[in-house]
Symmetry: C2
Subunit: 559 residues, 2 copies
């Protein structure tokens, strides 16, 4: 009998990092440790003091180190696993989170000279201050008919790599000059662990305009955007990118000491958190839509070839699983929209009734909403509480609720919001479908599938497809990082030779799935027709009232 | 020095009756007494037992007697006024509330034989079970091109006289047969007080198809509706109607004893509560729009001639003040819509913050909403929480909220609802205006103007007109009844010779008015354009989604 082998997966999230120890043979989660970031999201002041502009979101890189130093030893201990039996380590990271560093990878914010410069810190994915920069990139990109405009469904987001880089150049030119390297967090942490800067080809494709076989837009594009950006690729980014699930190097001595792992333990290339979760939900080929349902929703589907799909967030060759084109779509508001409802629109009587039944009020609301049949609420909502990401790609759209009467109870509104999210997803699946990218079933992970059964049933009924749920929906990303690690280790060292093979052994679904109920499907087909009419009326320029309301609000606030 | 003279006004409302003693010289309110109806609105069971159908709303006529027996002596005592100094008594009543009685006016429900028959009780204005009957009246009316179709803006309501009468005939034919008289509550109470059946021409016009100089639709119409209805006018209703503010008779001995008033004290003809409040808000001629702002909103305007105005609830010659055509319009949801919001959509944190400031949470919400500038909420609502009464006359329309985001606070929604009510009123005023019926200013009474200053300012800003408020907005109807009484008494007996003259002395406004603020008006003009686009898109058949949602709901509930 041979000893079991293990891999470690580390998921660097927005508020905390999560370390799992996973058995390679069957994916069994031996331990899971969460380490909260002491500094969390920096959106008001810098750690050393210093006020931040609105829409700024930064992080302190020391928080990530803490996850390694505390989380790994604790997870090993909890799992009862010895360092010698750990065959590889994998990480995933929020994306697009951008670092400016010295030649050896030290974040500029660690240098006294730059610690008071906000943009010398890690610029978090949800930093929203680079919209003017994104606008400029899109304008020049469209003028020059750059490939990336098509790749990203017509629009490069303010959250992405070059928007943030351009903001550094515009707002803190001295940080830009001092930055020997500009790098995604997911590649930076791998560099820290191994001492080698080996970037992955997936975030390069989804966030940084890189195309397999073609590379980046040419210098002329960057020069047109800003003269000092002309050589950004050659000077600060580099042109070599490595596939997902390949070894980036061995664990450096410093981190071996700090974590208790063996020096030289293979470390896999970086991956974005959303993408890591896909093989962890058993999805490794076309046909199954993988959906991460958290504060926002991300849908990912693979295809054998490249198609142009309306309003898609990105399509990248090898971007999810090598060998396929990975398509990414999403909805800006998911759990966030339900949280808005819980915080801002649930009446006191709902809380007191829930208390009487000794239920959390959210569970009480779900129970009440579940007692309503489709169509019974008389309501219809459109899920644009945070704008529309796909297929309209328009942050200036807003939420809509129609059908309220004097007897509309809060649970009816709650159910309408759940249904609206599902209608929004159906719109995306239909867009894929129209281009020949068919979705047979949906596999869900993230925070919501574990706790909201009603939402999952509504999804099955609205989409008319079976909804499966990952075995541990809340630790999908960390398991995904572990799967990447097992692949980087290779079969020779006790791992696997491909992500698909690793996922086939290590990823599992819950036995319970949600199947569409024909009688509900019929009603939802009718309601979805109504949703689509409103979607097009308000979203495709027939009546731009939502944009005018937002513009008016901005005008008033600027007075 | 002559002794001051007084009149008594009695307002028979939905939940209670209100008795005021008013000084004739200047309208000073000497006393006001409220008597709650012990049986209130009967909508579940009859007093002696017996389950009621959904949408039924009845009352026990004994409750009205109690208002006379308890309220009048108490008010006289409180005012320190002697019966000899009371020169007349006036009443107003909810409308259209329908009684079936014996030849002497005894309600059939007082007879043991009929006490278990729901429709033998007073059928309250908000009884909503006669929709099939209203549909039939409208169908036959349209087929025969009857005058009343135009009078009522295209549609006779299920709340009105002949819809209820036809329901009695359909559902309780023995009650219909036994009813020697079928009569509006406002005429019935006057008959009780004086012993003489003298009906007023205003409710006859607004609710019972009667036209001055022409009378009722001819027998052929009623026969076409139902063979046994053919002679309803001749047998059970009568054809003589008396103007508002004229004497209907003297107080009967029985009621003199019960109230402590002199036998023979003049009693004025009956009037509907909404109409009574108009002269009490000083409005007695064209140009000022009188608006009752309670659970629903009613707008009344006078004109020198008859015009056809889109979707008006009714236009009746002499219907408000003799000498003018009275136009009535309204919104089904007013205070009701705000109450829905308070009950169903105000989060716990609003209540706890209000508590900290020792404010009722409604006052806290108003304070927060008042701090928002027009347009700042980013929201726009359409006020159809209870359907649209004017100008679309469509109960199947429903509420709409547009513009919600993840940071929309409850006070923004509250403000949007206040604005929506004002936009709905503006739509009505614009419809009047388009027909040459111009509104210079608005005089408000009812429960809301006394308590919601923000609402009144929003009205001024949205309507672009000065909003005045009656001195005692909550007792407008009772004061109106008193003004009718003073007119019935005539100048000879210490009263006045016309309603206009009486109102000129007895009705007063608050010195504080609400004037439009030009900067707000500009913003609201822009928002009203948006409101109008949505109003027409959802209300005029471009997208009937609201009707389809209601139809689907009914379909689901019927399964």
């Amino acid at each position: 009998m041979t000893t079991d082998k293990y891999v470690i997966g580390i998921d660097f999230g927005t508020e905390s990092g999560r370390v799992v120890v996973v058995r390679v043979r069957d994916g069994e989660e031996m331990a899971a440790v969460v380490v909260r970031y002491p500094d969390g999201v920096l959106d008001e002041t810098l750690p050393g003091g210093g006020q931040l502009e609105p829409d700024t979101a930064l992080q302190n890189p020391r928080d990530y180190f803490l996850v390694l130093e505390r989380g790994v030893p604790q997870a090993l201990k909890q799992a009862g696993v010895k360092a010698n039996d750990v065959i590889a380590l994998g990480t995933d990271f929020t994306s697009c989170t951008v670092f400016s560093t010295t030649q050896d990878g030290t974040p500029l914010c660690f240098l006294p000279k730059y610690r008071r410069e906000p943009l010398a810190w890690a610029i978090l994915w949800k930093h929203h201050a680079a919209q003017p920069e994104a606008d400029r990139l899109n304008d020049i990109g469209r003028e020059r008919d750059e490939e990336f405009i098509r790749m990203y469904g017509g629009k490069y987001s303010s959250e992405w790599f070059f928007a943030k880089v351009l903001q550094i150049l515009n707002d803190s030119p001295e940080v830009y000059e001092a930055a020997s390297r500009l790098i995604e967090g997911t590649d930076w942490i791998v560099w820290q662990l191994t001492g080698q800067e080996k970037r992955n080809n997936s975030t390069a494709g989804y966030k940084a305009m890189w195309v397999k076989g073609k590379g980046f837009p040419e210098r002329g594009f960057f020069r047109a955007v800003h003269p000092r950006l002309e050589n950004v690729i050659q000077e600060k980014v580099g042109t070599e990118f490595y596939p997902l699930g390949t070894p980036a190097g061995g664990l450096a001595a410093r981190w071996a000491r700090a974590t208790g792992l063996r020096e030289g333990t293979p470390v896999s290339t970086g991956v974005a958190d959303g993408h890591a979760s896909i093989p962890a939900s058993t999805v490794t080929k076309p046909g199954s839509l993988s959906m991460v349902m958290g504060t926002s929703f991300v849908q990912m589907l693979m295809g054998r070839e490249r198609r142009i799909v309306e309003g898609i967030c990105g399509v990248v060759e090898d971007g999810i699983v090598p060998g396929y084109w990975g398509y990414e779509a999403g909805q800006y508001a998911g759990g966030d929209m339900f949280a808005w409802f819980f915080d801002h629109a649930v009446p006191a009587h709902a809380r007191s009734q829930a208390k009487k039944l000794k239920l959390p009020f959210t569970a009480w609301l779900e129970k009440q909403a579940a007692a309503l049949r489709p169509g019974e609420s008389g309501l219809l909502a459109v899920d644009w509480w945070n704008g529309n990401r796909c297929v309209l790609v328009d942050a200036d759209l807003s939420g809509l609720l129609i059908g309220a009467t004097l007897s509309t109870p809060p649970e009816a509104i709650f159910r309408a919001l759940l249904e609206a999210a599902a209608f929004g997803t159906r719109q995306i699946i239909d867009a894929f479908d129209a281009m020949g990218l068919h979705t047979q079933d949906v596999v869900a992970c993230g925070g919501l599938p574990a706790k909201n059964r009603l939402l999952m049933q509504i999804y099955a009924d609205v989409l008319g497809r079976e909804i499966k749920v990952a075995k541990h929906p809340q630790t999908c990303s960390a398991l995904g990082a572990a799967i990447h690690a097992a692949t980087a280790a290779s079969r020779q060292a006790g791992g696997y030779d491909s992500i698909a093979e690793a996922a086939a052994h290590m990823a599992h679904l819950r036995s319970e799935t949600y199947r569409p109920r024909p009688e509900n499907q019929k009603i939802y087909n009718r309601l979805f027709q109504e949703f689509r009419i409103l979607h097009d009326y308000f979203g495709r320029g027939v009546n731009d009232v939502m944009k005018r309301l937002k513009a008016l609000r901005r005008e008033i606030l600027a007075l």
